[in-house]
């Protein structure tokens, strides 16, 4: 009995000591969990050189994987990169700690308009800052589309893939879609002239009916494989994320395999999404996490990332350093007119979530 008491006292003392030490000086370690292919090659290296903090960098390829890990808790990650609508739900679940803005002087570099859009998901920008943003549009192999649909193919419209006649003609060269119901179903609703933010079952069913007509022509639903396949010429049309299509375009150009890829934000409008930097509530190194987020918001660092990943950023200070080729590309930095047509994702409650995902399974399997 006394022995046990002594032991527990000792343990408590040790824990107290450890906690005290952590407060005074965090160990120079940081665990970052980010999307695959989503940072410049030298960003981590530069951060380590500047701060002396050793970074462990892991990657994922879907919000669902990130969310499941966060929901299970104790991930050990200090910085994660959730997309806006996922962020909103995760904030509700108490996943994130509020940012200490006094430690983020580079916040002044951020674009006020885009940060205001982010506030739809994270009121007052309390928990997150914008990392990169982009659109969900259409990437296609220019030669193969022309070969099958002729020179007047509707490459500026969602009809290119949502019109069954076009999809049927492209089926044999390969159509792919993101395995992301929260992005594809709103796109279908938008094409049908419905409110893409609708959560009405009737609207979801209309989108489902449309997608079911083209699903037989879709080779697969996957959120990262299309980068390689588009670049290799294994598929000829992907509904995908802007930057990923540009990566495919670059890889094809580097391989000199004769494949030419284009990305378009269709005239009907497209989904604008934002990936954000946030710190989990149970992050073991919150100090270092703040340092990292502040480091990323540096104009030059963000410009380097954009120049590498070809996604737009929300960092005004970075724009002069971003390649002209990128800032002038309407697929990356859309024109003001196109920007007005962009819509954002809403947070689905449990019931809508189930309806949407059930519809999605039904679309994918034809059952």
């Amino acid at each position: 009995m006394t022995c046990k008491t002594a032991l527990s006292l000792l343990a408590a003392a040790a824990a107290g000591l450890a906690a005290g030490a952590a407060q005074a000086q965090e160990e120079p370690v940081l665990n970052v969990y980010n999307w695959s292919d989503y940072i410049a090659e030298d960003t981590i290296e530069k951060f380590e050189a500047e701060t002396g903090i050793k970074v462990t960098y892991d990657v994922y390829d879907s919000n669902e994987v990130l969310e499941t890990k966060l929901m299970a808790g104790s991930t050990g990650y200090d910085v994660v990169v959730p997309t806006g609508d996922f962020l909103a739900r995760q904030i509700q679940a108490g996943i994130y700690q509020p940012l200490d803005k006094s430690k983020l002087p580079n916040l002044e570099n951020m674009d006020a308009d885009l940060m205001a859009r982010l506030a739809n998901w994270d009121p007052e920008n309390a928990h997150a800052v914008v990392y990169m943003w982009g659109t969900t549009g259409i990437g296609y192999n220019t030669a193969k589309i022309e070969e099958r649909l002729g020179a007047d193919a509707p490459t500026n419209s969602w009809a290119l893939v949502f019109d069954e006649a076009n999809a049927a003609k492209l089926a044999d060269c390969g159509i792919t879609m993101l395995d992301a119901p929260t992005e594809i179903i709103p796109a279908a609703m938008n094409y049908l002239g419905l409110d893409p933010q609708s959560t009405e079952t009737a609207d979801i069913e209309k989108a489902e009916a449309l997608l079911k007509t083209i699903a037989p022509h879709v080779r697969y639903f996957h959120s990262s494989q299309y980068i390689n396949d588009l670049a290799n010429g294994d598929v000829c049309l992907s509904v995908g994320w802007s930057g990923d299509v540009f990566i495919a375009r670059d890889r094809a150009a580097e391989a000199e395999n004769g494949v030419e890829i284009a990305y378009v934000i269709p005239d009907e409008g497209a989904l604008l999404w934002m990936d954000t930097l946030a710190i989990p509530a149970d992050a073991p190194h919150p100090e270092n996490a703040h340092k990292f987020i502040n480091f990323i918001m540096d104009g030059q660092i963000t410009a380097d990332i954009t120049n590498y990943v070809w996604y737009a950023n929300a960092n005004t200070a970075s724009l002069p350093m971003v390649d002209e080729e990128i800032t002038s590309d309407p697929g990356i930095f859309p024109t003001e007119a196109a920007k007005k047509k962009l819509y954002t994702a809403v947070v689905y409650d449990a019931r809508v979530s189930r309806t949407v995902n059930r519809a999605w399974t039904s679309i994918k399997t034809g059952q």
Partner: protein
């Protein structure tokens, strides 16, 4: 003396028992518990079963998850389709593995051939599946070779064919090894006796070799069938979007719907519908041997 022997036995059994309790039974009970709760936006994302309020213990069991499995035909068809795919893969594996095992057992180069069977196991399973993607993709080896002789590219990936290819190449060694071990132990004198009694080779195979190798057939089939039913990686990488398999369905519930309780119910139901009958079948057959 006997006391030590008894205690010794208990100790020897204690280690695996403890291991199973810690890493199988307890996780299983956790899954079982989650399957009776309700989803919630929280961490963890499900409600608690037990509520302790002023000395009053309330246990809330939500049976709705299991009821839902029957309500929506998605789950039943996913189960049936998984069983079908797994059965077909098992039969194909058996048809390929049996002659191979027989040949290896009777070959003078047994060790070398066995080595070749085991060799793929030293490569990561995932890597072997990616190798199949390279082989079967529209610009892969097979289609390039076909292109040389003027035959058009065949779509092999994202079809049932690709999934069967994956299952068979992935699990074939699990079928060959148990078959080999029973066939290798087969007493050659029995075959000689059947020949002496006038049996033709085919007859001798059916009446002597096959019945005596049944334990290997059953063991191999179970080793292939059980992991195939719940297989997630192969259909996810090689399969098409229209394949409904229980492994993928479970993934959707867990990751896309964030409905851990329902996902747990799917897992428990799979265990009840598949593993329990298999265990009974195995015991019944085991007794007969």
């Amino acid at each position: 003396m006997t006391w030590i022997v008894r205690r010794g036995r208990a100790l020897v059994v204690a280690v695996p028992t403890l291991w199973l309790a810690l890493f199988f039974l307890i996780p299983f009970l956790v899954v079982l518990r989650v399957s009776f709760s309700e989803p919630a936006i929280a961490r963890p994302p499900y409600t608690s079963l037990f509520d302790w309020d002023q000395g009053l213990l309330t246990i809330t069991l939500n049976l709705g998850n299991y009821a839902y499995l029957l309500e929506d035909d998605l789950y039943v068809s996913a189960y049936l389709n998984s069983i079908w795919m797994a059965s077909a893969s098992t039969v194909i594996c058996l048809l390929i593995a049996y002659p191979m095992a027989l040949w290896i057992a009777r070959s003078p180069m047994k060790n070398l051939l066995l080595m070749l069977v085991i060799l793929p196991f030293w490569t990561s399973f995932l890597l072997r599946m990616y190798a199949l993607i390279g082989l079967m993709s529209p610009t892969g080896f097979i289609n390039s070779a076909l292109g040389l002789v003027g035959l058009g590219p065949i779509t092999m990936l994202q079809t049932d064919f690709a999934v069967y290819m994956g299952m068979v190449t992935g699990y074939l060694p699990l079928m060959i090894l148990p078959l080999y071990s029973t066939l290798e132990k087969l007493d050659g004198a029995l075959l000689e006796a059947s020949h002496d009694l006038g049996a033709r080779p085919w007859r001798a195979f059916l009446d002597v070799t096959l019945p005596l190798s049944m334990p290997g057939v059953i063991a191999g089939s179970l080793l292939v069938f059980i992991p195939s039913v719940g297989e997630y990686v192969i259909p996810a990488l090689l399969g098409g979007p229209d394949q409904l398999m229980i492994g993928k369905t479970l993934w959707t519930e867990f990751f896309n719907n964030r409905d851990w309780p329902l996902a747990s119910a799917v897992a428990i139901a799979m265990l009840a519908f598949l593993v329990v009958p298999i265990m009974f079948a195995r015991n019944a057959l085991g007794v007969k041997e």
